[in-house]
Subunit: 158 residues, 6 copies
């Protein structure tokens, strides 16, 4: 039985994130989503809000999917949750280089492997920060995030 | 008749920017230069100063070139000015990846295409921020920016 | 009036090629498609066949689009056809580097600029050679090439 | 239960290949190694020799690992073997781009996902072709390939 | 006699930095280490602390190695110290692009060349900021930095 | 005293090659140019012709520069000539990745370091193969290669 860990900020979750988690569910037996609660960076939605959004989006998969906010070293969290591998979505070459450095550091710190899952090309341009910028300027984020997230963005920037 | 939009911060305009705009004028019938007035990032020169610099630098082309400061979504500005295409200068592979994401986002938001124009290799290392760093430390920016901009930098950092 | 040149092998044309040419037609007044007839590389379809395919695919645009096979230096052909700019579709970072070298060489040889048009992400994985490999092994190329090209591939590899 | 497919030429297997397959065994329940028998490219070792090498190198894991030579479309082989995902080792950014195009094509042809496993940095420079070049010129390949493969290379180039 | 300049922040020095400086000592007759004292970025260790660390780490090489903190333009410092070339360690492609722009700017400002030395792949994932992040969260930095630096990090984050 | 090795095919030498060798002479005490005589790839000029061209181009530097054709492993040649370091010109990111793999292989085989020297941006698009293609099609290679090489190309393709 293979257990995969999907870490991310998910501030907020986009259609790209949803696609990556869905594909992990089709490959692995069990998926742990780890919401990075970075205290040094201000977030638009707090950890509880992001957890609630993901729980709602994946409410039909919670028998094989667990969602946690965490802080500290990712490798400590990975060991605690007993996962076999970290899985990261990849959009672009520059993502790849940064993620490769993190993967090698995590392998060096704790012997845990990282696998990269290329994003659906349809969502290759999507990032939470771009989505927030569009929403903040009053643009439409339909098709970029789930309807529930679009509503939350609209309310937040009202 | 083809209308192209050249967006940028131009804080301040460099010889690389001047080269890109000149080449756009040789390709397209009409060129709209859009000075991004980003309120969340502090700039060295304000929008009016940057507009005045570009108007002076291209004073002989103003029949086919218009210069505007704008804030908000680029695609809204593009629609308002009725342009056919966005043109961005490209210096390097890492520029390309970021610009590609913006281009795909803009295509998704408003169906507008982006074309990339590689910078003259002679100016491939030039950026406004590098120029400001050199000027701030008292280095010579001759050959990097038009003389008028060099004078403004000297005055600002005096 | 802006005239753009779209060079390529088009052996055979894919949905990615069709998308790039269509977008050029939406940006420029006139588009010249140049089919590179490389004598040193064996092609699956000869220049006449490729010309006929493109003429059929763009039969409704031939008032603003011309299609020619050519051999020799691209810059000589560009001058002969009096184009303002070369436009190349770009799929990936590695494409970009090779194309950038060609663009700088062409600018150095003849003062002609090259603009890059990123491909639709939906077609980012498509190339004529991948399509031929799939068709040769009996896979389905539906959705990758126009139906007319799919039929020609099926016949050729029968 | 997760089944992963590791395709490659393995002509011959290097320490980098061995490392990737071992890490797949630590992540997935079952691993299928697919030796690509490309008829259009001449190989140093034929499919049987490469199969025998890998079977010897992984003789203690054959309850969870199967090794097959195949020709044709990878996605057809993947479906036939009922795998959940393709796993590819990645050494460098340029590998990534080519592999990304193949991954997107395979997803488009058959809905099968590809995960990328970065190689151990210690083996980041290793490739079968570089190993063969060193061996052909009489250099030592110790530390680059398993001893059994080193012996086979020595004999072949004697 | 060749004199090389190795600039960096060294906040703090990692095993990757030590490896690059050692290899410079094996190639060049004399090595000048320049600690960039960037006043606009807050550092964990101040210039004196970083100088003291490097002097301790290279105490046996001080006949051919000098260590200085500096602020201002690197090319001015290079001229003042009469070096023949700047040498920079390179970990990744994205490093390369940024460093290439700096190298071309420095060549343009002062005619001084920059050579790039690829880091040992074993240290390819290492950066001072990643090391600080691990130490701040209580992870072990053994094997990533010299013992003396590990002790200083532990004390600083206690 | 530092001895550098500059390997390459030089088929034929371009202005980019000349620029790299000149800059090596300004950095290192002694420079060894190694002309790779690859028997498996057909060359336009044979090893003697390429040696003669380089000797003529650098006739004023032969007290500090030696030119040799060689075949076999580069590291064996480097040891034989007692060099301290290999120096390679770099034009682009994709060059960098391939060269990085060669550098790591050479370090692994013989403990010899490789330094990378970015080419003058003015020559960033230049390669021997592009030059040969232009010359073969009757284009002008003035400004791309030394006059003596231009004459040899003209004669060869006459």
């Amino acid at each position: 039985m293979s257990r995969a860990l999907c870490p991310g900020s998910f501030d907020p979750p986009t259609n790209g994130h949803v696609d990556v988690i869905k594909r992990c569910l089709s490959i692995f037996d069990h998926v742990v989503v780890a919401i990075v609660a970075n205290p040094s960076k201000s977030s638009l939605f707090d950890s509880q809000e992001r957890t609630a959004m993901l729980e709602e989006l994946f409410k039909d998969d919670l028998d094989r999917l667990e969602i946690h906010a965490f802080s500290g070293l990712l490798v400590d969290f990975a060991r605690e949750r007993n996962v076999d591998v970290i899985v990261k979505g990849l959009r672009a070459v520059s993502d790849f280089e940064y993620e490769l450095q993190m993967a090698q550091m995590n392998e060096s710190l704790a012997g845990i492997n990282t696998l990269f899952l290329p994003t659906n090309p349809e969502y290759g341009y999507l990032s939470s920060s771009l989505v927030k910028e569009v929403a903040r300027m009053g643009g439409s984020v339909e098709g970029l995030v789930p309807p529930m997230v679009a509503a939350a963005l609209k309310e937040r920037y009202a």
